[in-house]
Amino acid sequence: MKRPLLLALLFLGLAFTIGAEPDSTILLNAAGATFPYPIYSKWFDVYHMQHPDIQINYQSIGSGGGIRQLMEGTVDFGASDGPMTDEQLSQAKFKVLHFPTVLGADVPTYNVPGVATDLNFTQKALSGIYLGQITKWNDPEITKANPGVKLPSDDIVVIHRSDGSGTTYIWTDFLAKASGEWKAKVGMGTSVNWPVGLGGKGNEGVSGLVKQTPGAIGYIELIYAVQNNISYGKVQNASGKFVKADLAGITAAGAGAAKDMPDDFRVSITNAPGATAYPVSSFTWLLIPARIKDAAKRDAIKAFLKWMLADGQGFNEGLSYAKLPQPIIAREMKAISLIQ
């Protein structure tokens, strides 16, 4: 009778040895934003195929998670679409460098029965919906921006993030600029006290909820709406025009940033000026410790960054992310030498 247990343990023990990599493999652990997860997972996969000895294990647990785990030291680098605040940087036990990777956009996706066209959302409409003040799809604020579209009287099911999220940061940053009431009542950050709504985990969770819930509205990164065939609407920008998120609009929003980019690359481009700019665009950053003790890991990270800024950018547009403006790429290449 002891034999089954012995066999079971033997079998389990064998499992231990499977997947044992040769000693020369460099394993990097990273965690963070779900916003750029599609492009990051593509990059890490392609990079691993080109350099089989480097494995980057990225877990998309949300920007809040990326920041936290980086500060705890449980990952080699983090990722976030909300740059770390001054307070967080001072709390960190070591210096953190921000490296923008792509330009992306938060889009308002919705699942309204009977509506197949793109809806226009004014800034007041979006802030009103998320404040819980606009509760039905046929509210005047929405209908007046969408003449000719038959909007039902269904309840609006507001969906937000349940985890600490850079996508939330971008969205609330935009809402704070769009509405003074939002700024005072709720504020902006990776995790806020939402007045209303259901919480989904990650961009993935929000997309899933919107897709499955009639009447829902949620904010997700553009590629999630595209990959999952969920309708997303146009947002009114600072110039008053309704813009649908696309590469042109995102690039336009990011173009102005190059001039005023601070040295640490932390900048917000929501509600950017310009008639064609998409107002809920943002950079997203990799958070790299300035000092990395392990030489092999340090070189691997620096090599990856260089690849990312050159060849990596070629994959952006295929996944609906915009490329970084050239001047910013040049500055980042120089900044890589700061990693020691």
Partner: protein
């Protein structure tokens, strides 16, 4: 070492260091001490667990004190954390699950113990025992793709049509929410209730039933007024077991409850439980106060299950002493 195993039975062990070493050689003391150490490790682990929970929630306990239990707000931006929405959610979902599972489970157990032929009863009980082993994440998977759509398209509207005047059934029906979480939990705990209640009902002596029937009671009356009360403690025990499981349930709940830290009267509204918020926010609590508040929630959950277990034990011990009579 002496290999001759002698037994010091008739003569009491002599005192003194030489005798101690002699006893050691026998190996019995060694075995005793060795196994005792392992047993003590369990004590150590549990104490360490409580200690870690206590220490790591220090920041939050110092800042909020007892107000933590009354505060409705969970605001990471302004650093204001309160446990009330989560305690509420945990209790509401557990109560809803029991309201559904206890009558159904007890009725099914009565059927299996009293009415079904023995073979049928045994095989069904065997299968139900197996079902109690199904992992939580699987129920979560089924919850998302089966229960939530059914809730949204069928059950929700039906309940609203018939009982929609009650405040607990007002408000929009999203498919996820307290009620859905309660239903999924009910499915998860009903096997425990059936399994334990059935066993307890089977131990009720035949004479009790026969005495009732001899006095002219119907089958139902004998069951409900004699047998079930006799087995009362065990049945309560199964309910406690189910409740303890429901309180700590994490995955299935977080996949169907809507993840919104609000207190609502309506069961259709989204909510949050202690276990679910820890699962969602633990890895990303930016800031020590935030993490500390989450750990304090873990401590609260631990205390809830601790008290529940304690009550269950007292119940069992007290009625064991009373002899199990109604």
């Amino acid at each position: 070492m002496s290999t001759a195993a002698t037994i010091d039975r008739a003569v009491p062990p002599p005192a003194g260091p030489r005798a101690f070493i002699a006893r050691l050689r026998h190996g019995d003391e060694v075995a005793h001490v060795l196994t005792l150490i392992f047993a003590a490790v369990i004590l150590l682990l549990t104490s360490l667990l409580v200690f870690e929970l206590w220490i790591n929630s220090q920041l939050s306990r110092a800042k909020f004190g007892w107000m933590f239990f009354w505060t409705k707000v969970w605001d990471p931006i302004f650093g204001n954390f309160g446990a009330l929405p989560f305690i509420y959610g945990t209790l509401v979902t557990s109560v809803v699950s029991l309201v559904i599972a206890v009558p159904l489970g007890l009725a099914a157990a009565i059927f299996l113990a009293e009415l079904a032929p023995r073979k049928l009863s045994d095989s069904i009980a065997f299968l139900i025992d197996l079902l109690a082993a199904v992992p939580s994440v699987i129920y979560g998977l089924l919850g998302i793709f089966v229960v939530v759509p059914i809730m949204r398209t069928t059950i929700g509207p039906f309940v609203k049509r018939t009982l929609g005047f009650l405040p607990i059934f007002q408000g929009p029906n999203y498919g996820v929410g307290f009620l859905t979480a309660g239903i999924v939990l009910a499915i998860m705990v009903v096997p425990f209730i059936i399994s334990v209640s059935r066993e307890v009902l089977l131990t009720v002596p035949r004479e009790q039933r026969e005495a009732a029937l001899a006095l002219g009671a119907t089958r139902w009356e004998s069951t409900w007024q004699v047998v079930v009360p006799w087995a009362r403690t065990g049945i309560f025990g199964s309910i406690f077991l189910a409740l303890a499981r429901a309180l700590g349930e994490t995955m299935a709940v977080t996949m169907v409850i809507g993840n919104d830290p609000k207190i609502s009267a309506s069961l259709f509204a989204p909510g949050y439980t202690i276990a679910a918020v820890i699962a969602n926010e633990f890895t990303e609590a930016t800031g020590n106060l935030y993490l500390s508040a989450l750990i304090e929630l873990g401590l609260v959950l631990f205390l809830m299950t601790f008290i529940l277990n304690g009550l269950a034990r007292i119940l069992i011990v007290a009625t064991e002493r009373g002899g199990g009579h109604p």
